[in-house]
Symmetry: C2
């Protein structure tokens, strides 16, 4: 009775997501190849279809992942290309990096749903998934995820606010992406480290850098607040993050489309995983997640089916392990703004 009033997404053929073949049973499953492995074996990059690979990982390792970050295509119905600089500036070439064309929204959601179900199998009870989407797809993905993870496991909608060159359109400029976070198990204390942001200007002006504390009158009623001697760490980080897109000339930039800033992944990994934890990225792309994981001492597994992605990520990871080459960015956590 109650069940029948659940609100879910519906389309023809949806059952495919949940009725998926069990891991290891499909004969046609191509064996994923190890494209890169760190010197100490703490991280690897796998070349192959991510669905098949996720199922193979689940069969082999079971629950082992503390944080899974998924940066799937955004249902743009286009092929995205990687830019590669030639010797001269005119010789810049483009190679197809990934294909984001779908017969319809249902096909897109089926593909993503199957992968989310497989990722969930790999999560530890205190683990999280973060799915990176845009404001056109986020709503469908959230409703789908509520069904897969349970709406009581929904933790946060994180808004990544960036700044970019404005376009001339009779509308508010689109300057944000959305990250959905789910927990594996609502009854388990999640892995969590609180990060802090700087205080608001008005707070600094009024209270300075010391902690506030409420003061109560003898009657028990609230009186004025006072400051303490103790310095505050700042305000606990919110769910709206102001992080610049990677500038066209940034050192970090690889030319791979859809590349995300390292600062974004740093925040996620620092708050949702500890050193030594296993981080998973089934849409590894240019390897930002893996690179940040390596720098922050997390173990990692990345998967991608695109040759260009594998080449880009491999190059990036090797550069990290070669001490003579400076690593990207600094390990210093950057406060917002």
């Amino acid at each position: 009775m109650r069940e029948a009033r659940e609100v879910t997404l519906g389309w023809r053929g949806k059952e495919r997501i949940f009725g998926a073949e069990k891991p290891g049973l499909s004969k046609a499953m191509p064996e994923p190849k190890v494209a890169y492995c760190t010197y100490d074996g703490s991280g690897e990059l796998l070349y192959g279809d991510n669905l098949a690979t996720l199922r193979a990982l689940a069969a082999k390792y079971g629950e082992s992942v503390t944080l899974a970050y998924l940066d799937p295509p955004f249902l743009t119905n286009r092929v995205h290309h990687a830019k590669k600089k030639g010797k001269t500036l005119d010789e810049t070439t483009e190679l197809p990096a990934f294909d984001d064309r779908w017969t319809d929204r249902a096909a897109y959601l089926e593909a993503l749903g199957e992968r989310l179900v497989a990722v969930r199998e790999l999560l530890l009870p205190h683990g999280s998934v973060v799915i990176h989407v845009d404001p056109k797809t986020s709503h469908y993905v959230k409703v789908l995820c509520d069904e897969i993870f349970g709406d009581d496991c929904f933790a946060s909608e994180i808004v990544w606010r960036y700044r970019r060159w404005p376009s001339k359109t009779p509308n508010f400029q689109r300057v944000h992406d959305v990250l959905l976070r789910y927990r594996k198990d609502a009854r388990h204390a999640p892995r969590w480290n609180t990060l802090y942001e700087p205080l608001a200007a008005s707070t600094l002006a009024t209270w300075g850098v010391n902690k506030q504390r409420a003061v109560y009158a003898e009657s028990g009623r609230r009186a004025r607040s006072s400051t303490t001697r103790e310095a505050t760490a700042g305000v606990p980080m919110g769910d709206v993050w102001d992080i610049g897109v990677i500038a066209p000339v940034a050192r970090e930039r690889t030319g791979y489309p859809s590349q995300k800033p390292e600062a974004l992944l740093e925040r996620l990994l620092q708050s949702l995983s500890d050193p030594g934890d296993l981080v998973l990225d089934p849409y590894a792309g240019s390897g930002t997640t893996l690179s940040v994981a390596a720098r922050l001492g997390r173990r990692f597994v990345g998967i991608d089916a695109s040759e260009v992605a594998i080449a880009t990520a491999t190059r990036r990871l090797s550069a990290l392990e070669t001490p003579s080459v400076p690593a990207y960015g600094s390990a210093v956590p950057s406060p917002s703004r």
Copy 2:
């Protein structure tokens, strides 16, 4: 065939939304009462159920609204109270303002969906709807709206980012609401005025306050940009808005729960309506939309079914029209006890 693959929300009893009785046919429809009307007749506040009232308005006026702003309850499953200050601080009393309890999510979506269908009937071809929700409900509401308005009429997801006191939670602090904007008709140029934000600090440092212009080499390739003599108006406004919540001691504050800042409504009205246009708010509450509409020279219609809301909004609107009393007269101790 194609139809069957549409992705929509499903639940038992959903057909109610679209199969609603036609306006004017229900005998039991209570006649809405005019609770307040401006001196020149350009704005009014109606006391009654908003669904019945919207249908009555549609029958009477047809398409006439340029901007509809809806601030429905957020599915909190609680009753929300208005605070009323007594003579002494101890005498602060609470009155129930609105009831946000539902049997399930489906019931909530049915109620909202019926109202959205009725609101759509009232929109001019170049009109917009803006629905204010929180990150727990926004996704369901967006999927529902895609069905009602068509996903090609989805215009923006606006993120209202605010600052508030922190809570101790092993999660990112929730510090944003979501506003969904839809157009009535994708083939019609929408009502639109571009607003501007101040330049980012980094831009100011590099470029100063003058307009940038891209410079192209003779080959047609992009060279470095230059500044022009002309001062820039700033960056066209984005879809992430940093606006403070109404401070506990602000004049603007009425004590009504869920009250929204006037700054938020100002941005919406200025960009999505012109002076003289008709603005509709079916969940008028404390009357912020109406008050801002009156100040900005827009015509307006507000509806609410709560006595406390009607009293609060009426007080606020009268204060605006009484020149001897400073605007925001709501902060003045009310004469009634």
